[in-house]
Symmetry: C3
Subunit: 378 residues, 3 copies
C-alpha cells in the first residue's frame, strides 16, 4: 500500500543546506556517530593492505590485521600527530605501520612496537601510545566504520530492514569492476533527497523512464499508484523494469549471466534498493550490483563514489561489458548532479526559507524526521 | 558655486572596506533596500524575454509579462528551492517559467499554474505558491528593482535631482552597442569614491585630462575653481570638454551624429553625469551614452558592467565606431580599477584606521553621510 | 652536557596549529611585537632603495634614508590608505615616496612634503600626516623591524646568546648570491619544531647524515650522546661534520676559500647555528652562510626565504659554485617541508588533541615555554 502523504509537509530550513555551523552539527550528529561505509572487503585482500577514508575532517586507516580481520585507526601518529598514510590505498610492509616523520612503528593491531632512536625517558610506556582505534563492522562485504567511542547501536541494528532487501544478492563474493568518483556542488542532504523521490524522473530522466515505466508517473513504486494491488504474497509493489527489459542498461538488456541465488521475482523486478540514510545506497540488478557512497566535502560539496560490481569469479570483464552496465547509471547520475547543483544555488535565496514536500516525497519526510531526531540526540 | 570643503574631514573607518560582517550590514542597509539598476528595457524586447541579476546573495529574474510590463521574481522555486534560471538571459517559451527540477510551472506573472505529476494532497492550494515578487520600476528605460518588501520611497524620489541632469538625452530609445564586464578587487565604496573625485585625475588620467582640461586642476567642475562665475543663467559650472573637442573619445571628436533633443549648452559641455549613489552612473555625451553599474561580489570585489549606448534607429554600427567611442573610457576605467585595487590593499594595514578627505573630495563626504544614515536606519 | 629531558612532556594543543583565531593571537603576541628579520643590509645599497616586507597582515617599506640609515614605514598612505609600493623592491626617485593614487609625497624620512593639487583647507597641517613609522635595528647586516609602538626590548636583548655563536662570521660584508622562496603548507610553529630537533634525521635526511654522522643518532649535538666529554675548554658539544668533510655540501667539500676570521675550532666543526625563535635561523659554514626566514601566510601556510651568502668581494660566482653550495640544503629543506605538511594534515585529526615530546626534543619544550609566555603577556 502506498505510503504517500495526503497532505503537504514542510521541508527543512533552507540554511541547513549551506550554513557551515549547521554542517558541523550534522557531522557530529550523523557522520561522526553513525556507521559509514568506507569500501568493500574485496579491496583488502592480503594482510597489511589498507585503505584511507575521509569522513568530514577525519581520516581513517582501514587495514587487514594478521588474524585476517579488518581494523580501523585514526590516521595520526601518537607522537606529534603526523599523518601516517598519505596515499588513499597501499600496503603496510611486514605488517608494520611506520610513521613517515620519526618512524614510530605500530602493528596493524594498533600497538606501538618501537620508537627508533629515542633517548630514554623514565616514564615512557609503549602501551600508552597505541593508535586511536575506530569501530569497524561489515555487511555483505561492505566495510563500515563508526567514529563514536561507544557506538549507540550495532551496524546490524543501524541497517534495520534495509539489509533484508538484498539478502539474496551474493555481494560478499563480488568486487568492483569500475569506479567513478564525481564531485557535485551541493549539500549531502540534497543528493539524498534527490535519490529519495522520483517526482523529478519524468523531466530529468527520459532514458531511465524507458526502462522503468512507472517512473513516468513520477513515483518510484507501483504501490504508489492509485488502485495498486499485490501481484503475489508479500509483493511490496516495487517499481519494476519494462516488459521486455531485464536490468538497468540503456537498452534494458543484460549482457552477462544472472547472479546466483536470486528469486524468480527478484529477477523479474530487475532492480532492488538498499539504502543507508544519507550516506550510501546499493542497487541489486539481476546481472550486477551498483553501490553509491556520498562523501561530504563541506557544506556545499560532496564526492560520489560509484562502484559497479560483478562476481569475483566472473572471468575476464571486457570494456564493452563495462560500458554496457555503466552507461545508464552514469547518465542518470549526471542528470541528478546537475539538478542538485541548481537546487543548492536556488535555495540560497535569502527569500527562500523553507520548501514543501508533495505526497510522493514521503521518503524525504522520513529522512528529515530521522535527521531531526539525530540532531536532537546530540 | 563650489561646494568644496574648507576643512579636513575624516573618511570612513578602514575596516568598513573589508570586514565581512560590515559588508553584510551594507547589503542589508543599501543593496537589499534601495533601488538597484539591473539593466535596460531594450534588453527585453518580447514577452517572456528575461534577464537574471545578482544583487549580493540574491538572484532576481526580470521578465516581460504578457501585458508588456516588466516584472521581477526571486530566482527560486517555491517547491524545494531549485534555481529557476541558470543562464543570465533567455526567453521563457509560451510565457511559462518552468522549474528545471520538477517542472513546477509559473506564468510570467508569477502565478503557479501547474505541478505536473504531483499526487493529490487535500490542502494544496496553488495560490499559496506564487513566485516571490520583487518591486520593479523604470527611469529612462533603465530597469531598477528593490528587494525590500515595502520600499521606503519610490524610484523617482530615490533618484532625486540626479534624474534631471540627463532629462534631454533620449535614453529610452537607445540600446547598448557594446558591453564590458570588468572585475575589480576592491570594496564597492572605493570604486564609488574614486568616481566621486577628480583629485586623482592629473596623475592617473593624462589622456582624459587632454579632453577635460579642468581635470588637470584636480577638480571635476569649473565651479570648484577659485573665482568661477556662471557663464549663463542656471550654469552649474560643470566641467566641460576642451576647446576643439566635443565628446569623450581619444581625440575628443565625435564620429557620429549628435543625439536629438540636446540643448546647445549640453552639446557644448560635452559630458553630463547622473549618479545613483554607490551602484550606478550614467554619462551623457553629445553622440553617445555610457552607463556603469557596480555589482558587489563580496567585501573586496566588484564587477563593473559598462555599456555604451546609441539610438536604436542608428543603423549599422561599425567596429571602428565602437572602438572610437569606447577607447577613452576603457582606458580610464582600467586606470581607476588599478588605483582602487591599491587602495583596497593599503587600507588593510592594521595601522591605518581612518583616512582624511581634502576639500575637493566633498562628494565623498556626502556619500559617507548618506551611507551612515542608511546604516543608522537599519 | 646534554640538556635532554629525562621525561615525557606534552606538546602544544593541536588546534593551535590550525585555528585561525589562535593564529591571530600569535600574530599579536609574537609577530607584531617581536623583532622580525626582513632582509639584509646588502639589499639596500643606495639612498632611496627599498624593500617591502609582509608580516602577517602588515606590509612594511624598508628604505635607506639620505643619512644612509635604514628606516621603515607602514606601506599605506595617510590620505585614504592607498598602498604606496606595490613591488617587493625598487627605488624611490629623488628620495621621494609618492603615493600612486593622489601623489601625496613623502620624504624617505617619512615626512609629508607635498599634496599636489589639493584645494586649501584651513586646518591642514603637513606634520600631522607623516608616514606611520616602524622600529628598525640591525644585527650583522640583517635588518629587523618591530611593529610594536614601544618594543619591550632592544634587538640586542631579544637575540640574547644566539647572536654570539656567529660572532666571527663576517656577515656584515656578505650578500646573497642565491635565493629560493618556498611555500610550505604548514603552521609556522611546525617548521620551527622541525628545525629544532634531529629526531627525524635518520629517516628523513640520509644524505645529510653522511655529512653529519651524529645526526644518525637522532640528536643534533655530540653533547646529547651518552658519556660525551668536552674536547677543549668551552666546548659546547655541537654536532660536527664527518671526518674528511668540511662543510654542508653533497660531498662535504668546500669549493671556495674559507671565510676570514673564523677560529680553528669553528672551521673544524663546519656548521654553527644562530636561531631567532620561530622566525629565522642563520647557519655559518667555513665557506658560506645560509639564512632561512619563515614568513607566515596564514594559519596553515608559510613562505620560506632561503639565502646563500658569500663575501661581497668574492669576485665572480659561477653557476657551478652556486649549485655546489645550495644542493644539500635545498634537498634537506624539501624533505623537511614534506614532513611538515604531513604533520599539519595529521594533527588536524579531531581525535588528536596533543602530542608528546621525547627527551631529545627539549628545544621544542623551550620554544613552547617561550611562546606560552608571550601569549600570557598579551
Amino acid at each position: 500500500m502506498s505510503r504517500a502523504l495526503n497532505e503537504i509537509r514542510p521541508s527543512l530550513p533552507a540554511h541547513w543546506y549551506y550554513d557551515d555551523e549547521h554542517y558541523q552539527r550534522e557531522l557530529a550528529a550523523v557522520w561522526y556517530r553513525d556507521w559509514v561505509c568506507v569500501g568493500h572487503r574485496s579491496e583488502l585482500r592480503r594482510d597489511g593492505d589498507y585503505l584511507v577514508a575521509k569522513i568530514g575532517a577525519q581520516s581513517v586507516i582501514i587495514t587487514q590485521a594478521p588474524d585476517g580481520k579488518i581494523r580501523a585507526w585514526h590516521n595520526t601518529c601518537r607522537h606529534r600527530g603526523s599523518l601516517l598514510c598519505k596515499e588513499s590505498r597501499g600496503r603496510f610492509r611486514n605488517g608494520r605501520i611506520v610513521c613517515p616523520y620519526h618512524t614510530w612503528t605500530y602493528s596493524t593491531d594498533g600497538k606501538l612496537l618501537a620508537t627508533p632512536g629515542r633517548l630514554d625517558a623514565d616514564d615512557f610506556n609503549h602501551d600508552d601510545y597505541s593508535l586511536f582505534g575506530v569501530h569497524v563492522a561489515g555487511w555483505k562485504g561492505f566495510i563500515f566504520v563508526n567514529l563514536s567511542d561507544t557506538p549507540k547501536e550495532s551496524l546490524d541494528t543501524f541497517l534495520g530492514a534495509e539489509k533484508l532487501y538484498l539478502a539474496n544478492w551474493p555481494i560478499e563474493s563480488m568486487h568492483s569492476v569500475h569506479r567513478e568518483v564525481i564531485t557535485v556542488n551541493c549539500n549531502w542532504k540534497l543528493f539524498w533527497e534527490n535519490y529519495s523521490e522520483c517526482y523529478h524522473c519524468p523531466r530529468l530522466h527520459p532514458e531511465l523512464c524507458k526502462v522503468m515505466p512507472v517512473y513516468r508517473e513520477a513515483v518510484f513504486d507501483d504501490a504508489d499508484l492509485p488502485g495498486w494491488k499485490p501481484r503475489f504474497e508479500g509483493d511490496r509493489g516495487f517499481g519494476r523494469v519494462a516488459d521486455g527489459a531485464s536490468t538497468w542498461t540503456m537498452d534494458g538488456k543484460t549482457a552477462s549471466p544472472d547472479l546466483k541465488g536470486l528469486s524468480e521475482e527478484e529477477r523479474e523486478i530487475g532492480v532492488v534498493f538498499s539504502s543507508v540514510n544519507g550516506s550510501m545506497y546499493v542497487v541489486g540488478h539481476p546481472d550486477y550490483v551498483r553501490s553509491v557512497r556520498i562523501v561530504p566535502q563541506g557544506p556545499e560539496q560532496i564526492e560520489l563514489v560509484v562502484d559497479w560490481m560483478l562476481p569475483e569469479d566472473f572471468g575476464e570483464v571486457s570494456d564493452d561489458l563495462i560500458e554496457h552496465i555503466t552507461g545508464l547509471a552514469k547518465l542518470v547520475i549526471r542528470q541528478d548532479g546537475e539538478a542538485c547543483e541548481l537546487n543548492q544555488q536556488g535555495l540560497k535565496s535569502p527569500r527562500f526559507e523553507q520548501g514543501v514536500l508533495v505526497p510522493q516525497e514521503y521518503p524525504l519526510w522520513d529522512f528529515h524526521e530521522w535527521l531531526r531526531q539525530r540532531l536532537n540526540d546530540l
